[in-house]
């Protein structure tokens, strides 16, 4: 099955009560991933759901991005026995998944990852999971304090990238179908949906703004590409960054990994890939200690240039989708958004 076979948008509606019973049924029939409030910490997390009543749709965004369901932090690439060259066997099986409640920024992040993992060499560890998954997003009715998707062009309501996009109206949602996978899903669960072909998309409730776009992406792109940003700006950032990597792990588009051979506690061996990040100082170091990265300023700049120049050049979309998670998680007050705003204003 193709990952995304985009179709012209078709509209259905789904009443709130129907959505609740649909989620209950999905919980029984599929591997369902949805937002659940963690009572101990108050966070809403995107997790496999055991009971449908655990799901909340009252949240700004999930604390974790959904990338881990397609690109897990510890993924078996293959199993083997050391010294036995005939022993290589396949990795873990892939189960079909339905993800409900993603925000638009995360849908766009997955679209970027899809294209990244498809290009040049197809990475089937990622793509197999995507082929067997359905993305049902919930568009944001208001722009939240921390996010800036209107600056990166990745929300709050999407025109493509989702299988199904739910847009809240009084008493329920309009379900926009954007792909053949979405269409198949509605056919499978058609009793929950009602036809809304006549719905006028201009009748969506007006968006509650959080002050409009925070920066001009084109200007940021141009200034970074021309290396106009002052060296002192990167030096200041390098002085504050603690190289903890949390911003990268929380980023819905960060996809760097390292590969190691590991013995599991059971004694079995795996070649596994694990998340890695360009803000770890050893990321580019080579055996013998030489490191092509000369200083931490260069390390800081690489991330901005990669997401806001290279990925725009390669994929025609921003490598930052404006979710704002990195700003919340940073322990060194290296605020990605504030820094982009500074670059925009001539730092």
């Amino acid at each position: 099955m193709a990952i995304r076979s985009k179709i012209e948008i078709k509209r259905y509606s789904i009443a709130k009560a129907n959505l609740v019973s649909l989620l209950a049924r999905l919980c029984r029939e599929k591997k369902l991933i949805a937002p659940v409030r963690n009572d101990a910490f108050g966070d809403v997390e995107f997790v496999p759901v055991a009971a449908a009543e655990d799901i909340t749709l009252d949240y700004e965004n999930t604390a974790n991005p959904p990338k881990e369901f397609f690109f897990p932090n510890f993924e078996c690439m293959f199993a083997f026995e050391p010294g036995n060259n005939e022993s290589i066997s396949a990795g873990d099986d892939t189960l079909p998944m339905v993800l409900v409640g993603l925000r638009s920024c995360d849908v766009k992040a997955i679209e970027l990852l899809d294209r990244f993992y498809e290009r040049d060499f197809e990475d089937n560890y990622y793509l197999d999971k995507r082929r067997q998954s359905v993305l049902i997003s919930v568009a944001c009715a208001k722009l939240h304090e921390q996010c800036f998707c209107t600056s990166t062009g990745t929300g709050p309501v999407l025109e493509s990238g989702f299988d199904i996009q739910l847009i809240e109206i009084i008493d329920g949602y309009i379900a926009e179908i954007g792909s053949t996978k979405g269409l198949e899903f509605v056919e499978e669960y058609q009793s929950f949906f009602a036809d809304a072909a006549g719905f006028d998309p201009h009748k969506f409730p007006p968006l509650v703004e959080n002050g409009g776009p925070r920066f001009d992406l084109k200007n940021v792109y141009n200034r970074l590409k021309a290396e106009k940003v002052e060296e002192s700006f990167w030096e200041d950032m390098a002085a504050r960054c603690q190289s903890c990597g949390l911003c990268l792990f929380m980023c819905p588009t960060c996809s760097c990994f390292t590969v190691t051979d590991k013995a599991l506690p059971s004694g079995q061996w795996r070649r596994a890939r694990q998340w890695d990040g360009c803000y770890f100082r050893g990321f580019t170091r080579m055996t013998g200690g030489s490191d092509p990265l000369r200083n931490n300023q260069e390390m800081m700049r690489r991330k901005y240039e990669h997401k806001l120049v290279q990925q725009i050049d390669e994929f025609g979309m921003s490598g930052c989708t404006g979710c704002g998670r990195c700003n919340l998680i940073c322990v060194g007050n290296v605020n990605w958004l504030e820094n982009i705003v500074k670059i925009d204003r001539g730092a």
Binding site: M77, F116, F121, T258, D261, R273
Partner: protein
């Protein structure tokens, strides 16, 4: 591709192992010649891990593939412990390799230091096997000491090839060495008509830096100075991010770049 699946190495029998120096060995694998000079492979020992290694043989020779491995870390030590009849895991070939057609008819200058001769050896072999297609060949090689010289016999053989000069230097005078001493760039003074050459440079970073700088001063055109970059690729296929460099992935866009390309990318070597 040698491997059927992207990340699963193909197990290949080691045909022969040759000591090149006290810490460097040459592994010959029986594997077709479906690769280009300048490409690399990801080499695995199950349980130790995987590292990128440049192919150091020419596809014009014997249908075999040779890898020059210096014992430096965990994986290269595990590789070095293997002998004839053992297996190595292989993925690839990856990378762009040298665009040999672009240099036809031109005088070629090879500048290398230490084990940096390995990737250039793939091209030197290719050029000498297609001798009529290329102009004069000059090979300059520098090693730290005489014990560090790799492919010493072959350097002598290459010197016997038609219209081919070879010069070797070691960093400092040493007992039993009556050849040239000094870093490899100290051999540049004897070059004639250098500015007309296409130069291929590979070696330790510091050597590359000085060689590139001097070649530019000598009048070589930036698009005629070619180097091959070393990075710690974990995947070789543009996914893991470790070799990302100014908008390019060294593993898929490189590892071979011209000085002109690196300059446009604002990469300083």
């Amino acid at each position: 591709m040698f491997n059927d699946q992207l990340y699963i190495p193909r197990q290949v029998l080691i045909d022969d192992v040759r000591e090149l120096t006290y810490d460097t060995r040459l592994f010959r694998l029986r594997l077709g010649n479906h690769y280009k000079p300048g490409q690399f492979v990801q080499v695995s020992v199950l349980g130790a891990g995987e590292v990128p290694v440049s192919i150091c043989s020419s596809p014009t020779r014997n249908g075999s593939l040779e890898l020059c491995v210096r014992k430096a870390g965990l994986v290269t030590s595990a590789i070095s412990a293997l002998g004839k009849g053992d297996c190595l895991g292989l993925r690839g070939p990856y990378g762009n390799g040298f665009s040999v057609d672009r240099f036809k008819g031109q005088p070629l200058l090879f500048v290398s230091g230490g084990i940096g001769l390995a990737p250039l050896r793939s091209l030197i072999g290719f050029v000498l096997d297609n001798r009529d297609d290329f102009g004069k060949v000059t090979i300059l090689y520098g090693a730290k000491t005489k014990q560090d010289i790799v492919f010493g016999d072959e350097l002598k053989q290459w010197a016997k090839a038609r219209d081919t000069d070879v010069a070797i230097t070691i960093d400092k005078p040493q007992e039993g060495w009556d050849g040239h001493t000094g870093v490899v760039t100290s051999l540049f003074g004897d070059l004639k008509n250098a500015s007309a050459c296409t130069a291929f440079v590979c070696g330790p970073p510091i050597m590359i830096h000085f060689a590139l700088t001097e070649l530019l001063v000598m009048g070589l055109k930036p698009n005629r100075i070619i180097t091959t970059l070393e990075r710690h690729m974990k995947c070789g296929v543009g996914k893991c991010g470790h070799c990302y460099l100014k908008g390019q992935y060294v593993c898929t866009h490189g590892p071979v770049f011209s000085y002109e390309q690196l300059d446009a990318m604002n990469v300083r070597l």
